[in-house]
Symmetry: C2
């Protein structure tokens, strides 16, 4: 069974929908927390549930290296391995591999990518076929084509080469996925990814190319990789709505409030980002207006109010800024947990609220951006 | 209101009882988890509740230094500060201060103790009066007298001096507590502590001395501080039952399965130890027989069974050794959480089970010690 998408409501370009999976329904727009190594950093899955999470992303690159897809497959795929009952999405591994290119540790040809384990230095090769084989063993509900994501500062020619390669690899991913999918017991769906960097003609070609292959969902990759905010806005605004209307649209790696609000306004349905948990471990949290604040600030030393007065997360319902600040400064691990829960809840709740507004017909991006 | 103790059942020296506090009932024997800096390391209090916890210990030394007892008092004491609803116990700060004596960083006179902050190096002075003032501001249900705990290797003369000082300080603690208690809104009860090291005459004198002051509970201090296991066993076996029968008896700092089982068999009701959470952060967990195992062991790589097949904790109900091992080796914080929950649940459950057996009349220490 592949995933099914239902469009509940459209408000200009913005959409509210549902993704039906064999592990439950995902209401879109949705923010997907990232369980890089198969756990949300500093959280249990029960704690994640209290954040309103409906689907989790996990990273193929990390899981391939440790503990390996064979072990996870033996445990019954990511669901058996983690005992998390809701849908999973895995990325292709490409993004982590290609981010090594910048430091000269990755060699890419049309065949595939040679790279080194960022921890042990051991040598590996992944191509579209291998990525599909790993991901079908990991067993996520949604898996991603192996694409070539160039850096935000890449030249036109570099981006063109990466985009052409992404298209060839999309075809190879699709063929190999069909082959593997026939052999696996997991219900899986392949999403294809458009590249093209900040160049309109390349983006346009890429969107058209991936649309030519009928899969259950499509993504825009290669944003939030070093280009300017204006470029991100422009690419998403001009191209998101060109993806098929009857399929979910996923903007990869995007996770600030502003970017999410604008992207939903441009027709995007799905988001993921490590930002909310990563900044939590550095003491940052989102306040009532979604602004990033530091719990280390002296102003919070005697502040017995919650991180956000309007937040219903576990941390805000139970603890004060003064308490969490003390824990953070005293290097208590629980501070990471409390800040991570709050930040995840904030972004997931943001997408839930916007969904309601789209359905009610009163979503206005400007309202969020002016806060 | 002071705490009240009710003896439900006695089986030879072993006791099952209840401690009534204004924050609920504690069923004894009980293991008390340690929230050193006002959080259980790597856990939220909701997670702690799933471990069966009924009362938590917090450390006066750490809280006095950071964030300071004034801030906690302003938040409504430890209950307001942490939002934990169940009873708290605070130690006196003495143990942490005197453990600096071994490295020459603490100067003790009959007046009190000069010591340095172990992190900032700042200079401080605490005496019985100051400890009571701090603890009445922290607002725990049970607070401990300021005692002088010598190291396990101390000579007879050193222990005698520390024991005599402990008695003088017990009187001063009692007087100051009565004074402070009349001024505070918190319901608090003072426990006195017997010292005497491994020397029978000094232990005997110390038990008799503290019994001469009528307080709601009594503790045996100065065990598990470097002396041999045989010495611990002997002191607890020979002296625990000499403490008043109608008051709770607390053996400070003891937390291995063997020590807890023997101490309950000798008439002890309350235990605390950082061991279960500390060893968790080093990858150790208790198996079905209470033996300490390392999750890092290669034998667990493909082991999809829980940490303990007989355990009902969150970790064992949800995750496999293989999964937790992967998280630990991949340095995921969640591994600390899962191992800490299991270890705390194990020791708390041990005391709960023994309580039931005492009430049923079938508790046999040997059964646990032969496992």
């Amino acid at each position: 069974m592949t995933i099914k998408f239902q469009l509940d409501k459209k408000l200009k370009k913005a959409r509210a929908g549902k993704i039906f999976t064999s592990h439950g329904v995902v209401e879109t727009p949705i923010f997907m927390p990232v369980a890089t190594q198969s756990s949300i950093k500093a959280l249990t899955f029960d704690q994640l549930d209290t954040c309103g999470s409906q689907i989790v992303l996990s990273n193929t690159y990390h899981l391939y290296l440790r503990p390996g897809e064979e072990l996870i497959n033996k445990a019954g795929g990511l669901h058996g391995w983690t005992n998390y009952k809701k849908p999973f999405l895995t990325d292709s591994g490409g993004f982590q591999i290609f981010s090594q290119a910048a430091i000269g540790k990755c060699k890419i040809t049309d065949k595939g990518a040679n790279f080194s384990d960022h921890i042990t230095g051991s040598k590996h090769f992944i191509d579209p076929e291998k990525s599909m084989q790993i991901q079908t063993k990991l067993g996520a509900d949604i898996i991603m084509a192996f694409d070539h994501c160039p850096s935000g500062g890449a030249s036109y020619l570099e981006v063109k080469e990466a985009t052409d390669r992404t298209h060839a690899w999309a075809e190879r991913s699709f063929v190999e996925f069909e082959k593997q999918n026939a052999l696996t017991n997991y219900d899986q769906s392949l999403f294809l990814i458009a590249q093209g960097g900040i160049f309109e003609d390349l983006r346009s070609q890429s969107i058209e190319f991936i649309k030519s292959i009928d899969v259950p969902g499509y993504a825009i990759g290669g944003v939030s990789v070093g280009e300017s905010r204006e470029d991100i806005d422009r690419i998403v605004r001009d191209f998101a709505h060109l993806l098929p209307e009857n399929k979910p649209r996923y903007l990869m790696g995007v996770g600030t409030k502003e970017d999410i609000v604008k992207a939903i306004d441009s027709g995007i349905d799905m988001f993921d980002c490590v930002l909310p948990t990563r900044i939590a471990r550095h003491g940052a949290f989102f306040d009532e207006r979604g602004q990033r604040r530091s719990i280390k600030n002296a102003e919070f030393e005697n502040d017995f109010s919650p991180l956000s007065k309007t937040c219903s997360c576990y941390s805000c319902q139970n603890h004060s800024k003064a308490y969490i600040r003390h824990l953070f400064k005293a290097r208590e691990i629980t501070a990471f947990t409390l800040l991570s829960m709050h930040n995840l809840h904030y972004l997931i709740d943001l997408t839930h609220n916007i969904r309601k507004e789209i359905i009610n017909g009163d979503f206005e991006a400007e309202k969020y951006l002016q806060e």
